[in-house]
């Protein structure tokens, strides 16, 4: 069993819908952001309508969904921002 564990951060509408702002997620070796996204969708189908508008940040940096994950990384799901 060569998996990794990452931390997933949720915000705003997504966090409210899933009822949590932070969760641990086990992902397989060589997983990418897309892998994590698909696992989350499997575990939380309610996330589905949000996916088209999400951006992803890995360790506080916006990344493409092809970006590989690393052990202990923090993946943030970023809904369209509305600060200011």
């Amino acid at each position: 069993m060569d998996g990794m564990e990452i931390t997933v951060l949720l915000f705003a509408s997504v966090a409210d819908r899933l009822g949590t702002r932070r969760l641990a997620l086990d992902v397989p070796e060589e997983a990418t952001v897309a892998t994590a996204r698909d696992l989350l969708l499997e575990r939380f189908p309610a996330i589905e309508p949000f996916l088209p508008n999400l951006l992803y940040a890995l360790d506080e940096e916006y990344v493409r969904v092809t970006q590989p994950l690393t052990q202990g990384a923090t993946l943030a799901l970023i809904p369209p921002v509305s600060g200011g």
Partner: protein, 147 residues
């Protein structure tokens, strides 16, 4: 450079003091303020949520970019989170520059970029409901490195 995400009230003088410079002939300050209405709805208050550590990181990147782009002497960017009443300041920026033209143009650019890229979200609370604002303006985002 003063960069801060905080739950405390924002004080303009703090941003102005942070950008003061003997070479500055112009300081432009922008306050984003909670308005009593939005898109025809009467707003009771706003609730701001941030991803604070990443928000400060992105704010710093944008501030550094603005210094290169507009030649600012210094920049301050502060964003408040939590419950904000009508009239309270959610965003406070200040820029100092040699002359006024860059201070206006660069200050405007800075606010636009902050609203596009910084991970902060606002929930509008009305008399009869509430909603996260993740509107069309926000959807135009193209983050660096994003497909």
């Amino acid at each position: 450079m003063l960069i801060r995400v905080t739950r405390d009230p924002l004080v303009s003088q703090q941003a102005i003091d942070a950008v003061a410079s003997p070479r500055a002939g112009a300081i432009n300050v922008f306050l984003g303020v909670v308005r009593d209405n939005n898109l025809g709805r009467e707003v009771r208050y706003l609730d701001y949520e941030a991803y604070p550590s990443m928000a400060e990181k992105v704010m710093r990147e944008i501030a550094e970019e603005s210094i290169r782009k507009f030649g600012f002497e210094d920049v301050a960017v502060l964003h408040r989170t939590g419950k904000l009443e009508i009239g309270e300041t959610s965003l406070l920026i200040a820029v100092s520059s040699g002359h006024r033209v860059e201070s206006f143009e660069g200050g405007h650019w800075l606010v636009n970029e902050i609203k596009k890229r910084v991970p902060v979200w606002k929930k509008e609370v009305w008399a009869d409901g509430e909603s996260w604002i993740e509107g069309p303006e926000s959807l135009g985002i193209q983050a660096p490195g994003q497909r």
